[in-house]
Symmetry: C2
């Protein structure tokens, strides 16, 4: 483990999971935390997952790795605030869900004596705040790094050290162009969240079905969308503002395909429905085989250990 002092700016689900994961995998590492919210700083201090600094400058001073874990819309202002305090040779990275906007903004703000390498761990839960973090969050998940074009001698070494850091936490690392990252994540994460937020809002607004009915019968499928839609609203607002082009492109494809399904329903075209519904099973199998989801029916949430165990054929 080549980093000795790590500063984490933003102590929510991801920041606090990073602090816990570092403690679990490299217990001698010095971890310093800072959050712009005084309330979050107090709560983070109570968790005993790292030393909480009073200012971002105090947190990053002498750190050889600085990780930004704020919503992406807050990253530029945060970086501008502590940039001059970055140590010579320090590696600056982030965990934001969009990469082109972050790369463009933070690339300019990083001082000459430091190395900026943007990143994104594809991991999370629907919960927020420092209490929601846990050390195993990144295990078996992919972390995408989107390095700059930077020919300085130390840059390749900084990238290798940052990759090794994520591998140490249990993640698998992939290098990608920031624009490609934003397109891939638009379909695998951003648009799925958008339609989850949207259907929950649609359901709430219906005059013809009560909220209590929606809640009672949500096990029919709707409940899954409520989980995604419970994610942090500020984080997601920033994602959609920062990844507008890719999200609109994927959304255009989604609504076009949905219109075709709608037409098939209207005209009673069962063959088209059956053909499209059948194709999805293969993708599900691949997701499970790739270790990216549990194979347990309903993710095991409905099955008591006793009943499930004795009755499975």
């Amino acid at each position: 483990m080549s980093f000795q002092r790590i500063a984490i700016i933003g102590v929510g689900l991801i920041g606090s999971s990073l602090a816990r994961a570092v403690r679990a995998h490299a217990p001698t590492t010095d971890v310093r935390l800072y959050d712009a919210s005084p309330d979050v700083r107090v709560r983070a201090a109570a968790l005993d997952i790292g030393a909480v600094a009073a200012t971002a400058e105090d947190a990053v001073r002498d750190a050889d790795l600085v990780i930004l874990a704020t919503p992406v819309g807050a990253m530029a202002a945060a970086t501008a605030g502590f940039a001059t305090a970055l140590a010579p040779g320090a590696v600056l990275t982030d965990v934001g869900s969009t990469k082109r906007a972050v790369v463009d903004a933070l690339g300019k703000l990083t001082p000459e004596h430091a190395f900026f390498i943007a990143g994104h761990p594809i991991a999370g839960t629907e919960q927020s705040g420092p209490e929601a973090g846990f050390a195993s969050l990144f295990e078996k998940r992919w972390t995408i790094l989107t390095p700059q074009e930077d020919s300085r001698p130390g840059y390749a070494d900084a990238l290798a050290r940052l990759s090794a850091f994520w591998t140490m936490l249990g993640a698998r690392v992939e290098i990608m162009d920031p624009d490609r990252h934003d397109l891939v994540l638009a379909i695998t994460s951003h648009v799925p969240h958008l339609i989850a937020f949207n259907i929950v809002a649609t359901a709430e607004d219906l005059e013809t079905v009560t909220e209590s009915e929606i809640v009672k019968y949500s096990a029919g499928g709707f409940r899954d969308f409520t989980r995604l839609a419970a994610s942090d609203p500020v984080m997601w607002r920033d994602v959609f503002l920062a990844n507008k082009d890719a999200v609109l492109e994927i959304l255009g494809r989604f609504t076009e395909d949905l219109a075709a399904l709608q037409r098939a329903i209207r005209w009673g075209d069962g063959d088209t429905l059956h053909e499209i519904f059948t194709r999805a099973r293969r993708v599900r199998r691949e997701v499970i085989e790739a270790g990216q989801d549990s194979a347990a029916p309903n993710w095991g949430r409905d099955q008591s250990a006793e009943a499930g165990g004795e009755d499975k054929g």
Copy 2:
């Protein structure tokens, strides 16, 4: 438990779960099974969850409760095939996901000497086939019954006995009008499945993102949709054909709301995004408080017991 001989027609996830649940809660009940597929009949027999009959008539003869658990599109033909073999006073019910089309078709086919009461347990998993069933599937889930207007003396008693049957299996029972059922389920189940099927198809068809990328980074949210979209294609084709009007109505609202979100993204209207994203959290909380979903982050699927246990703050 007032039913002594139960016939289950259609031995998939729901039918085989019913057989297992009856065995668990009323072990002396005589359970007979029939499936139109010879292969499924062989597999069902191997599970030892009830006597497998060679014909539907053999299964229903002398049964005091007959449960149709086929896809809704197959129910009318199945009922026409065994109707004359129904015992006097027999209760005929179903578990189909749409109710108006089933009520209209099966109401006419039920002989004078039997009682038809349509039903729908709001329970299931993404898996299919007789091996996928388990006894606890209906526990804490709602079963909706949509009785006919039927003034015959035995009808109210038949309804009371059918309600007691579902309660015995751990379900909660609600009485509802079939049209209302179809509208409520369109938002809580049918449209959620449709958009899950749709986004998986959209992702597969993208020329700009490979399937392997989609699978690798699916933990960002997409994987949840692949689970819903892995459900049985024939069952779902029949649902959309049978509940066309309500599905198209809800789908119209969904796409209208999605267009508003799309516009907010295009014009950088962060306040609108934040406002809509914030509202969804309350619904999530209500779903959990109503016992309709697990409160564990990510449904617990990503957290090893060790790592999760020691690190939660």
